[in-house]
Amino acid sequence: MSDALTKYREELYCCSRCGTCKYIYQNYSDSCPAGKKFQFETFYPSGRLHIARGLLEGKIEWSERIRDILFSCPTCASCTVNCQSRHHILIVDIIEALRAEAVSKGFGPLPNQKAFAESIEKEHNPYKEQHDHRLDWKKGIESEVPQKDKASILFFVGCTSSYRQKDLAQATVKLLNKLGVDYTVSEEEWCCGSPLIRTGQLDLVKGLIEHNLELIKRTGANTVITSCAGCYRTLKLDYPHYAQKLEGVEILHITEFLQKMIKERKLKLKRLDAKITYHDPCHLGRHAGIYEAPRAVIQAIPGVSLIEMARNKQNAWCCGAGGGVKAGFKDWAVEISNDRIKEAEETACDILVSACPFCKTNLQDAISASNSKLRLMDIVNLLNDLI
């Protein structure tokens, strides 16, 4: 057993399989997407910890079944919130460490997840797109994108915005321009590494991190802003584990930055008479504890009323895309998202807003698959239209 897993030995023996991780504590709505779908004990967080124990004790061996069990977890961290035991905060860390171990033993990741690692290695993004096209999102707004080598703020675009949600990258640039912010965008950005870390494919991670940290250093930025919850989580929480922490650099999600602008009265927004509901991305909410900033931003829009979904903040239902599930279980990822769409529809909202392009992709896929009339926007796109 690897050092990474024996490190968690004590925590593995904390779990008594009381089942509290399976539902939202004292509310009892579903909270674990994998458990809800597959229902065997093994597919719940507690089951995975006991699988790890079985491996530690030599009672079972690595297998494809273990691979399927481990990689079906979207790492939404709902279990870390609902488990009442002292190891609760480490459950996702343990699952990610188990995945890394599975990969090292040749039992993971799933084929589509392996494919995005190959793409990252070759083209520095998981989407099998050419690295040379990473900046294509600038087309049509080239003159609006700063060309500076140095600035106090670096806008870290992220792969999903660069290749799949280009409108989000563009909207972020426009928003930052409207706010008169001193920022720059690097032409040398690589994948933040999140898809690899979540799926245990750690070989390339250090290289990615070192590259990205170097480019941050080169810009002289003391603040890095990203509009992707996944990049945010990775830059803020994972990077310090893999490399020396970059001193004096603050990592902010765009909503944190916008909240600051609101507090400093630098954000003047047009009126929008609408009912909005907000989906908490797991990487922003449960992983990083950012619940209020996006809400403050939404509520700063005159005329808007914010209506919460039944499961919100630390109890938010996962969009289904995270943890490699979008790649590994394409249909099921949309199935998970469909639950979220239904929940949003129940609020009778005019707009469903999120703060992560990866969430947006999967939520949009569910909207299309279910022929829903729901309107989905990223918070940046929403605000950009209102400044």
């Binding site: 023996y13 229902q39 065997f40 093994t42 699988i51 079944r65």
Partner: protein, 483 residues
């Protein structure tokens, strides 16, 4: 366990035909995880785990098992504290989680009809916005209400109504030979599950039988009206006899919902004091009593409170340091966790976060002399084995009997610790049995002890009934002498 791989493969395929391939597993991973629970009871692996959705699927599984003489063990959450879902002879674990519907709620007769997978969490959520409440043990929300009822578990209305088996109105079950039967008023009318009177009561064939007589697929369970005025009091005291007398007196007054008498060690465990450190320290109060009462009007509430306070004054005469406070005061001292009694079901983190939890949980006489002797004896035994003396007791059914339990947490990190706990539970159980304490959710090893000491006619009758219902002896074999 089935020895031949081909044999197993054939059964796996047949099970898949019944429930669908995604609901059957014979993978080592599932077999391992389903082979043990949080208790000190040894692991035994099943051969298959299957998750049916309908009664018809269960019936087909049972018929298949009979044809091939494969043991069957019903399972929902596996969190009974008696090792009762550990398949002692291997076979098929029938995980009933997918059957999680509350089928009907009858507000006039105040009962719900629930499938096996309905947990305390589910029913709490279901009744939340109604005028009704269910009854809860201090068990995590993910615990089956059906299993707890069939195993005669206790709860926070046990003072009024007894153990949970006493609130069963009716059941539907798949017998060990595959037939589907209804028992109770529902045997005549599907729309009426109001009770067990007045036909010969066969519900007992499933209560405390630990899944040996079939799989219950629906259960009618009583619920109660909520009362608008409700409060909890905590009493700290040193003297057991006067405290117990106080509890018994209040029980006999028929005004309380629930009375828990705990040792200080139990309180500390609930507060999260680490394992091994929940010990009574010289000078501390020895006992903590939790009183739960409710009323329909403020007048009634005040009257009940007066009775409680008058009874407490009697304690104070003997035990001058005894003190009483509200749950609000306790929450101010210890944080909201201590007020979780108000918000059942809840998970006692401190109890469950070392991987191992068990008890010796018994029902016994409420005779004060015997109870007192029981406490002394139990403390002696537990102290000898160097575990924490987490006493957890409850007056049952108006004072007709007494729930006498010790919550025992241990780490499963080393086999030695589990063996130590096995020695403790054995000695503790045997000591208490001598005093007239009968374990509920009786583990197999304790059942073996009991059948050698109880009326042989009882044992013979039990075996006769079991043989009649389960001629191939496939349902949860290895328990109560039914091999």
């Amino acid at each position: 366990m089935l020895q031949q791989a081909e044999e197993r493969a054939v059964i796996t395929e047949k099970l898949k035909e019944i429930v669908g391939k995604e609901w059957v597993s014979d993978h080592p991973e599932e077999l391992l995880v389903y082979s043990y629970d949080m208790t000190e009871n040894p692991a035994h692996q099943p051969d298959f785990v299957v998750m049916p959705k309908t009664v018809e699927e269960i019936s087909a599984i049972v018929k298949l098992a009979n044809e091939n003489k494969i043991p069957i063990v019903p399972f929902v959450t596996g969190s009974n504290v008696g090792g009762l879902t550990i398949p002692l002879k291997g076979g098929i674990i029938v995980d009933l989680k997918r059957m999680d519907k509350i089928i009907r709620f009858d507000q006039d007769d105040m009962y719900v009809i629930a499938e096996p997978g309905v947990t305390f969490g589910h029913i709490n959520k279901f009744l939340k916005d109604t005028q009704f409440r269910y009854c809860y043990p201090n068990a995590p929300p993910f615990t089956s209400i059906m299993a707890n009822a069939l195993l005669g578990g206790l709860n926070n209305l046990s003072l009024k109504y007894g153990n949970m088996a006493e609130i069963i109105n009716g059941i539907e079950a798949v017998l060990p030979t595959g037939e589907i039967v209804k028992i109770g008023s529902c045997a005549c009318w599907d729309e009426h599950w109001w009770g067990r009177s007045s036909m010969p009561d066969l519900i007992g064939l499933f209560v405390n039988w630990q899944g040996m007589t079939g799989i219950v697929t629906k259960i009618g369970l009583q619920v109660w009206p909520n009362h608008p005025f409700r409060d909890w009091k905590f009493v700290l005291s040193n003297d057991f006899d006067s405290t117990y007398h106080f509890v018994k007196k209040l029980a006999n007054c028929e005004i309380m919902n629930d009375i828990l008498l705990l040792s200080t060690e139990t309180v500390k465990m609930v507060l999260g004091v680490p394992i091994g450190q929940a010990v009574w320290l010289e000078g501390e109060p020895r006992w903590a009593t939790v009183l739960d009462f409710a009323a329909n009007t403020q007048k009634e509430f005040n009257a009940k409170l007066e009775i409680v306070e008058d009874a407490f004054k009697e304690v104070k005469k003997v035990d001058t340091k005894a003190a009483i406070c509200s749950v609000t005061a306790a929450e101010k001292m210890y944080g909201p966790r201590v007020g979780d009694f108000k918000r059942l079901p809840f998970t006692i983190g401190g109890m469950l976060e070392y991987g191992g939890h068990t008890w010796v949980g018994t029902y016994m006489t409420s005779n004060p002399k015997i109870v007192s002797k029981g406490v002394d004896k139990a403390f002696e035994v537990i102290g000898k084995h160097k575990f924490e003396k987490c006493l957890y007791t409850r007056m049952m059914k108006g004072g007709h009997y007494w729930a006498f339990r010790f919550l025992l947490r241990f780490s499963k990190e080393t086999p030695e610790e589990t063996e130590r706990m096995q020695k403790l539970t054995k000695e503790l159980f045997e000591s208490l049995f001598e005093l007239g304490a009968m374990p509920y959710k009786t583990p197999a090893w304790a059942a073996d002890f009991i059948i050698k000491r109880c009326d042989p006619q009882y044992v013979e009758l039990m075996h006769k009934i079991k043989k009649t219902l389960d001629p191939n002896g496939i349902f949860n074999p290895g328990r109560w002498g039914n091999d």
